[in-house]
Symmetry: C2
Subunit: 535 residues, 2 copies
């Protein structure tokens, strides 16, 4: 199949954005998301107008399969991709999961470098090549002539170049419409990687879209991706915030904004991305995974558009162009601060949130409005950052698992003093029955979490076990809201079970911690999918 629709239909002058936040990004240790959270990210990727959403690795677990299937069913606009090894069972499960998609995109891979073949797969080159051809052919047959079938040669940048070209040629003959060149270990240097990509484009570029997938181990993922575009690659695999295993993947926002800021360097190739959705996407992914974005991260860091030194401020005030190559507005940063008086009711809040990239209405808007009014009582200045934190909290926890869950917090108190242990007590409703308990701990949070454990254990037969706990200030200052991220599993689950995540938000960090613990607990009570780790 030398002319699948995906290739022939590919628009000239464009670079296709293949987002793998939900697959490679979510594989980062500690970044696991629930199916509901993955859907929320997928909806934001639709607003961001990426071309392809890689939704997961369906063969990894029933939960992964289910999440990919739900995203495939619900997504309109971007293609939905699923990853599969070239191994009996994997591609079949992937095809089942994405067949319902408006635009299914199967992504099969096998390693081709000798180091991977010898030490991991115990295959020789010819066997690997045969498997690649077999499963690409399977995918083309299973999904028909119009679907995208992509093949990746894992560890391509450390593969013998002649063998690599032979593999790509063979899979294009077998029906692959996209061939992907992964720098799996983040080893490539831009000019060297550009030469490799150019060789692949020359060999198979007339029959397939050439794609790249770069890791950031040496800090070069964005540069390698851009060098590949200069060399003729027409699909780039990227993640929001550069999320991903180890040092992560090429960062969507960096690649997209470089193409947009320096078009002359890239033969005027453009993407379809709605760049003003970048900040919202970055915040959402950071919030749900608990992975902070450092202040000096390009494009989406808290300081990316901030100017300090006297030298720079001076020039900046005289003309922003002296130090600014992009506007904050182009990535969806309004930069304004807000006086709560100006909100003038729910309508005013709705308008302000629209400016910040969020469309709220009905009960969600009501709940957000109540939270903003309450915050204005506790805190002098309500800022954009505060509003965004409130919206995220509403979106993440306004789900069924929220305050109306099977475990409800009726009251709590805690005392803590120098040198001694802290003592906490909680009053809960557990499945309709009132329960109270006290506990002591190293600090107030430890004490209150212990009290919750003691209160729920008799009714549930298990208690939550904390696996991760973080607290972050939304803004500076002592009246800042604290955003808590809490992950726990059931005491009856295996230690490597996927945890449930809860978020809390309050100007009292004890309260936000407890809110987050209860949100996660309710997800566990309702039976959030709990699986062992991936194969």
């Amino acid at each position: 199949m030398s002319d699948p629709a995906g290739t022939a239909g590919w628009e000239a002058g464009r670079v296709r954005i293949f987002d793998t936040t939900l697959r490679d990004g979510e594989q980062a240790p500690g970044a696991a998301l629930t199916a509901e959270e993955k859907l929320e990210v997928a909806r934001q990727l639709v607003r961001l107008r990426v071309d392809v959403i890689e939704a997961g690795f369906p063969a990894a677990s029933p939960g992964d399969w289910d999440a990919v299937h739900r995203i495939a069913r619900e997504t309109r606009g971007p293609a939905v991709a699923a990853l599969a090894r070239c191994r009996d069972g994997d591609p079949q499960r992937a095809v089942e999961a994405i067949r319902v998609a408006e635009r299914p995109h199967l992504h099969v891979f096998i390693a081709t470098s000798d180091i991977h073949l010898v030490h991991k797969l115990h295959l020789d080159r010819e066997q690997a090549l045969a498997e690649a051809v077999r499963w690409v052919g399977y995918g083309r047959k299973a999904l028909g002539p119009d679907a995208e079938v992509e093949f990746s040669a894992e560890d391509a940048s450390r593969t013998d170049p002649e063998f690599l070209l032979r593999v790509y040629e063979a899979v294009v003959d077998a029906g692959a419409s996209t061939v992907n060149i992964p720098d799996t270990v983040g080893y490539a240097i831009p000019d060297e990687f550009g030469r490799l990509v150019r060789a692949v484009v020359e060999r198979v570029g007339s029959g397939a879209v050439v794609s790249v997938h770069c890791h950031n181990d040496l800090g070069l993922a964005t540069a390698n991706t851009l060098a590949a575009v200069q060399a003729g690659a027409r699909q780039v695999e990227v993640t929001v915030n550069g999320l991903g295993e180890r040092a992560g993947n090429a960062s969507l926002e960096e690649v997209v904004m470089a193409l947009r800021t320096r078009p002359g360097q890239f033969d005027e190739r453009v993407t379809r991305v709605a760049t003003e959705q970048i900040t919202s996407a970055s915040r959402l992914v950071s919030y749900l995974t608990g992975f902070v974005v450092q202040p000096n991260k390009a494009i989406v860091g808290g300081n990316a558009f901030a100017h300090e030194s006297g030298i720079h401020q001076d020039g900046f005030l005289k003309n922003p162009l002296t130090y600014e190559i992009m506007t904050p507005q182009s990535v969806g940063l309004s930069g304004s601060t807000l006086s709560i008086g100006k909100l003038s009711g729910r309508r005013g809040l709705q308008g302000k949130l629209r400016e910040l990239g969020h469309e709220l209405e009905g009960p969600t808007l009501d709940a957000a409005y109540r939270a903003v009014v309450a915050l204005a009582d506790a805190k002098k200045d309500v800022t954009d950052a505060d509003l965004l934190a409130i919206v995220e909290q509403q979106t993440a926890e306004a789900a069924p698992e929220a305050t109306a869950g099977p475990v409800r917090l009726d009251g709590w108190s805690v005392t803590s003093s120098a040198g001694g242990r802290s003592t906490g007590s909680v009053s809960l409703m557990v499945q309709g029955e009132p329960c109270t308990a006290e506990a002591t701990g190293n600090g107030p949070v430890d004490a209150l979490f212990g009290a919750v454990d003691a209160a729920v254990a008799p009714a549930l037969g298990w208690h939550p076990v904390l696996t991760e706990y973080e607290i972050r200030a939304v803004t500076a200052g002592e009246d800042a809201q604290g955003q808590a991220l809490v992950r726990c599993r059931r005491s009856s689950d295996p230690p490597d079970a996927d945890p449930a995540t809860g978020h809390g938000l309050s100007t009292n960090i004890i309260e936000s911690s407890l809110e987050g613990y209860l949100a996660a607990l309710n997800k566990l009570v309702r039976g959030a999918p709990v699986e062992g780790r991936r194969p």
Copy 2:
């Protein structure tokens, strides 16, 4: 002066590492350091074996001058550089500050792009060229033939190339031994930047070291720096953690480890950096500035050497080379966890800390040992991360400003409960007099900080005003230590006064917050230099 010693003496086959963490890095909004903290970073840069430490911008303020001067006086090994505008007064102050250094390195700059000349400096090209020549000549004369005199053309990547080359030629004739090409706005793309560097090397490379200074606005600072090395640059200006204004500077650790991991791509050029000090340097800079390093940061992120996905784990366990291009040990990560029983006393702790890159003895070792023993009572597993946090806390706060400061905490207690305000009380010794006070607040930290304010205000005539507050968990889990960073100024200072920084560490986050507040307060009482912002 066409053959200054700095050039002729420059060793072939090497790339000079010019660290600007203390100058460009410290200019990042929110990253300001005290003179004492700058010295601590400078000592770590000596251990890291960088070639040049850019210590600051002496004309900015008397505090900046003093910090540069102290670093110049105390540093042995690396050269000590100071930045100066080409403007009467600046270079003189810089020369005064660094003249005492073992190897002084003057760094003068002026903008050369039309956009900067027109909108910021109101000079024409010929005037800018004349100022550049004048102040390079001044520096050469003031410091003598053996010192380094470096010239930077600010915004070089947006300067007319022919004019730029003419400027570099003129300053080399005037005595510059290094010419630096800054990509001030982070605008360059690697292959384009490499071509610019090559043109400069061809024009002046026989008479001066060619240097680059790249910003990260498009995520390309490391790649641009490496492309420059391929094109003949022999000095690179970098910062630890990529700290710096906006999206920061090229990251020292990424540039150094790329050169080390892929020598064949860089003509086998090497640096002198002791890479096993990288992790300690990264942690110290993050700790003192309060700038987090994101988990997916290359080389120094918490996940940089972590492997998750089943696919990857499998290969990794069979042979680390399948997914690892550098060892964690090469950057000073031991990766082990520790059973406290194995420490067997102060000697055991000392040995373990040496493995982690810290040499402690005498009272500092005693204090660290007491803290570790106390922690082992409160926390199940004492990890490497816990030990490093304790060492950082000892180093930062074992200074005179510490617990034995003019304000001492004798006791505190706080209560907090659902829906209500929190109430806190503190007992302090303020300059030898006992003071107690109570206050209420939104949360327990707010209440206790308010109580401290109320207790100290009558005696001091002012109270601390919080300008920044962050709390971070050292490890996961509910018994984790919380590391607090607190910055405050005096209520009697102007709102833009440089704040004092305090750190606290405890398994009780209330206690670590209060410790940090007291440490910062003591610095303010002792009169830490408080200045307005830079010119």
